[in-house]
Assembly symmetry: C2
Homo-oligomer: 212 residues x 2
DNA sequence: TCAATTTTGTGACTCCTTTCACAAATTTTG
DNA sequence: CAAAATTTGTGAAAGGAGTCACAAAATTGA
C-alpha cells in the first residue's frame, strides 16, 4: 500500500460496493469473494481487488473478504463512518423533497438546518413532512447558525441565479463541502469542494444514447 | 471525421458547452473561440476542439465558431433538438418536485404522464403545482398510456424495492430510456438504456474529499 | 498584394484506468 | 501431511482520454 493518487472512479465504486455489502450483511452473508462482489456491482473482479488495494489488504487468500469487516473498512475510507451534518439552502420543490429523503437518515447524512430567503412562505412545506421537522432560518443567519450547529456540508437548492452568492455565503461560513443542484457553474476557493447534480446533463446523455 | 467510439465524458462536456452557448446566445454574442468556451466551462481549449472533431468541422480557422450555428450542431448531436416525451413513475416527494421542475420545460424534456400505485393519494401533490397539471394514472395502465402518448423516457421515483419491477413494465411498454432515481441497481435488456442519479454516491464522494 | 496575426483541426505524446495473468497465501480433501 | 483447489494481491500489458504543439486555413492591416 504505497501512496498513489486515487482515481475518482475508484471512490464512486467503493460507494457502490458499500451499498452491496450492506445488503449482504442484512441477508446474513459472512464472506464474499471479489468475483461475487464484482458480479453484483457489474464490474470486473480484478477491478474490485485493485480498488481495495489502493487502501490496504482486506482479504484472505483462498477465502475472500469478511463482509462486516470489509464494509467497516470501506466506510472508514470514504469517511461515511461518521455523521455528516448538512444544511439545506432553498426550501422550494426540490429542497423540501430533500428534507423528506429517508435514505439520508438511513445513511449517515443529516440535514440539521434549512435556510430560505422567505421562511414564512416555506414553513408549510417543512411541517407537512414526516419525522422531526427541520428548523428553517432566514438566509441572513446562515453564518451564525452553521457555526453553532457545526455544519460541514451545504446543499444548494435555490434558483441557479442565486447559486453562486449562496456558495459565497457558505465559503464565508467555512462550510467546506457543497452539493449543488442548481444548474449553474459555481466556483469556490482552494480547500473547498463542490459536487454538482445536474439532471439535465444526465438526461442529455440519455437522449444521445437513444438517438444513436 | 472518421468513425470512432465516442467517450461518454465528451457527451457530458457537449451538454455543458450547450448550456454555455445558450447563455452566450442570450447575451447576443455571435462568435466564440475554443479558448473562450473552454475558459467558461473550465476545460482545456484543445479538449473543446477534440470533442467537436469527433462529429465534424464546425469552426472557421482564424475566426472561431458561430455561436448559433455551433449550438444547433451540438443539439443535433445530442438529440436535444427534438422534444422528448417522458413519464414519471412514483409521485411521492421527489416525483412531485420533478413535475414542477421548470428546467425540464425550458429544455426540451416534457413529462406528459405520471403513474403511481395510489393515484387518489397523490393527486393533491400534482394540482398544487404550477402550470398545466399532469394527469396521474394507476400504474397498471402504464403500457396502454405510454403507447398512446408516445413516451420515450421513464423517470423512476418509486421506493428502491419497486424500481426493478417498474423498469420491467417500462421495458414491456418499449420505453427505451430510463432515468432512475431509486438507489437500486436495475438491469434491462440490450437496446434499452438506464442512467442512474444516485445522490448518496455523490455525497459519499464529497465526504471522502472532505476527510482527506 | 503580401506579411503578420489569429485560431482551427489533428498527429504524436503523456498520463491515467482497466484488464490480464500468475505467484503467493490459505483452505480443503484424500 | 501433501496435493489439489481457491482466491487474493499485483506487475505488466492494453486500452482510453487528455494535452501539446504545429501545420493549415482564414482574416487583418499596411
Ligand atoms: N424541482 C426539481 O425537481 C429540480 C430538479 C433538479 C434541479 N433543480 C434545481 O434546484 C433548484 C431549486 O428548484 P426548485 O424547483 O425547488 O425551485 P423553487 O423555486 O421551488 O425553490 C427555490 C427556493 O429557493 C429560495 N431562495 C431563492 N433565493 C434564495 C436565496 N438567495 N437564499 C436562500 N433561499 C433562496 C426560494 O424562496 C424558494 O423557496 C433550481 O436551481 C432548480 O433548477 C430542481
Ligand atoms: N426524496 C428525495 O429527495 C430523494 C432523493 C434522491 C432519491 N430519492 C429516491 O427516489 C425514490 C422516491 O423517493 P420519495 O422520497 O419521493 O419517496 P415517496 O415514498 O415519497 O414516494 C414514492 C411514491 O412511489 C409510489 N409507488 C410505490 N410503489 C409503486 C409502484 N410499484 N408503482 C408506482 N408507484 C409506486 C408511492 O405511492 C409513492 O407515491 C426513492 O427510491 C428514493 O430513495 C428520493
Amino acid at each position: 500500500m504505497k501512496y498513489q493518487k486515487i482515481p475518482e472512479a475508484t471512490i464512486r465504486r467503493l460507494s457502490r460496493y458499500s451499498r452491496c455489502l450492506e445488503e449482504m450483511e442484512e441477508k446474513g452473508e459472512k464472506v464474499v469473494s471479489s468475483a461475487q462482489l464484482a458480479n453484483k456491482c457489474i464490474v470486473n473482479a480484478a477491478q474490485v481487488r485493485k480498488d481495495l488495494a489502493y487502501f490496504g489488504e482486506f482479504g484472505i487468500r483462498g477465502v475472500g473478504y469478511y463482509v462486516r469487516d470489509l464494509l467497516n473498512n470501506i466506510k472508514k475510507i470514504l469517511g461515511s463512518n461518521k455523521e455528516w451534518r448538512m444544511a439545506l439552502i432553498g426550501v422550494g420543490n426540490l429542497g423540501s423533497s430533500l428534507l423528506a429523503y429517508k435514505d439520508f437518515l438511513k445513511q449517515n447524512y443529516t440535514i440539521v438546518a434549512a435556510f430560505d430567503i422567505d421562511p414564512p412562505k416555506v414553513i408549510g412545506r417543512v411541517s407537512e413532512k414526516l419525522g422531526k421537522p427541520v428548523e428553517v432560518f432566514h438566509i441572513n443567519r446562515i453564518k451564525e447558525v452553521t457555526k453553532e450547529r457545526k455544519i460541514e456540508i451545504g446543499l444548494i437548492a435555490t434558483p441557479p441565479s442565486e447559486a453562486q452568492s449562496v456558495a459565497n455565503l457558505l465559503v464565508e461560513a467555512e462550510v467546506r463541502g457543497i452539493l449543488n443542484f442548481a444548474p449553474a457553474q459555481i466556483t469556490v476557493p482552494e480547500g473547498f469542494v463542490v459536487k454538482d447534480v445536474f439532471f439535465t446533463i444526465i438526461l442529455d446523455n440519455l437522449a444521445y444514447l437513444l438517438s444513436n
